[in-house]
Symmetry: C2
Subunit: 406 residues, 2 copies
Amino acid sequence: MQEIHGGVTAAKGFTAIGVAAGIKKDRKDMAMIYSEAECRVAGTFTTNVVKAAPIKWDQDIVYGNKTARAVVVNSGVANACTGAEGFGYCRETAEKAAELFGIEANQVLVASTGVIGQQIPIDKIKAGVEKMKQLLSGSAAAGTLAAEAIMTTDTVKKEIAVEVEIGGKTVTLGGMSKGSGMIHPNMCTMLSFVTTDACISQKLLQKALSASVADSYNMISVDGDTSTNDTCLLLANGQAGNPEITAEDEDYAKFAEALNYVNTCLAKRMAADGEGATKLFEVKVVGAESKEQAVTLAKSVVSSSLTKAAIYGRDANWGRILCAMGYSGAQFDPEKVDLYFESAAGRLKIIEDGVSTGYSEEEATRILSEDAVTAIADIKTGDAGATAWGCDLTYDYVKINADYRS
Amino acid sequence: MQEIHGGVTAAKGFTAIGVAAGIKKDRKDMAMIYSEAECRVAGTFTTNVVKAAPIKWDQDIVYGNKTARAVVVNSGVANACTGAEGFGYCRETAEKAAELFGIEANQVLVASTGVIGQQIPIDKIKAGVEKMKQLLSGSAAAGTLAAEAIMTTDTVKKEIAVEVEIGGKTVTLGGMSKGSGMIHPNMCTMLSFVTTDACISQKLLQKALSASVADSYNMISVDGDTSTNDTCLLLANGQAGNPEITAEDEDYAKFAEALNYVNTCLAKRMAADGEGATKLFEVKVVGAESKEQAVTLAKSVVSSSLTKAAIYGRDANWGRILCAMGYSGAQFDPEKVDLYFESAAGRLKIIEDGVSTGYSEEEATRILSEDAVTAIADIKTGDAGATAWGCDLTYDYVKINADYRS
């Protein structure tokens, strides 16, 4: 497997574009992905009881006919808490695209991100769909325009592509995402779109996606607020020409590995670009009895406001980490925990068997001054582990989220 | 029942004091409560797997002999993650007090709050105990000194007392607390101490306390970080002379009501004094099918970073509230929710049946500009309800918690 240039247009047969449709002021706010061939589609969606209208539209497709040709995305308005009217606009959007491409409306996935509670400006959306249909391109630049158009409070676009050889053919996966996981308030939502030319059964496509999402997007947190719009869609059009993957064999393993690489990269970039963040904060739990235990512990630490504020302050305040592990709900022996801080500047053992090693605070602060820092907790009871990603908690987080919506 | 002046010394037979023992720089850092008669004692403690040494010491007493005469508290150092050495210092502290009072060491409760991972300076602690023994007083002023001595990042002391007539006698309950519930990092911990001269069986004392804690302290959150040291102790010395409360009769109900009043007042003051907070934020869920459902929904909203930041910004960003209800884990129908904002400045219906009422944003901002604001969510499925308390999320929260420990 190797990383290549590009994003959602990297795989064979996919085109994309991003445009300014006038939903936001002077910024790109609509994106489209289109496949010349029918795609098998897999998806995962927010677990929030309050589900935005596009979630309901897409679930009908992903759980229903399981195939699609196009994705239409808007930023600026989330189309959440908009009732039957909002759902009707999903249908109108899909119907508009379907009419232009000569396909069925249930072949068009839609996604929205932005303010909750407002109706999307359907006329601008329809005009945007028309404009995008004209401009679609398979170039890497077009993929980048799409990645830019779905940004809200994001400060950097997020796209990635990889190639992997499967069944003697080069299979490509490319993705783009926006958001910072569970955060993004006004501008709620994580959205992630991955395209591939792999030929793989829909069942295994969904299986690979669900497994990968659990280890990637579901392991990031910015502030624990699970959006009403979280969506990850994976489209596979089979154009790589590899023998269809129909069993969990070596080919499946290669595909799953490549998919997980793409998703993990996008997830980490979302965490690092969390609202107001200055650092990527990685938490590894090792030596766990079970993966479930490690996941619970790692997510609790990466979500702890106190720990995140300490990371911002470059403060090796390990008591907060042990405290967050303690209230996670997972059982472990605090008196067996070893804890390390690690970054490009080095690695330092902070506690051993639950008590301070008498480490140098200056050395710890030096390690925590890097842009990406890792806390490693070894609970010394087994061989399982898990990694979670988040970011620091800063003044700017408060600023971004306290500002009046305008 | 009526509120009276005073705190932990209000009830008959209780003395207290607060002193500067040199643990913190130029600030009071030790407090003592003493009862001339033996007290039945009830307690509730942190559910964190990582439990500070004083928790373990106190649990032996509360679950063991269930009686006590004195409480010794220090602020500045939490005595958490301190191993066998830390637990030994609890014993030494209790033994020192026991020796001075001529009682058993297992009649002395201890509590600590402050930095995790450091050992308490036992010589200063012992000298502090000696000094406090000399200065103990039943005056209201002495109770206030104790309430001040347990403060860490608190900006105001928290004490309250009430009188209630039970069995023809005046029964008094007085309490003090520190902290902001689940928060307080370096300075971790909520501590709460309530004294009463009521005569009540230990079993009912514990029952009343556990029930009240569930509705008061356990309904506040500042940032969801459950401390390693959270402790609530209730001491009853029986000196009011009321007929012993031994059944869940009318007398018990009166006592429980008074206890709940004291605990709720202290809990709300902790929430309002959350680190960096400018506002008390109250969340009421009404019309629920069960209390459990209402509790889950209310706590999710009051703990949402995004909602808290919006409250700081006086922004009626109701989508965040509905979103937080949605990811709480409780089921409800988003399309039946009515939501109101309320404060001293008025009451405004924001959403009806899950969609915006088209309310005035200016009016909403005016209501949210008060020092105490309430969000009321009516989910219209039953008669149960619950109230949670928290505070806004501000720049100062980040500042307090990012600052290097020094």
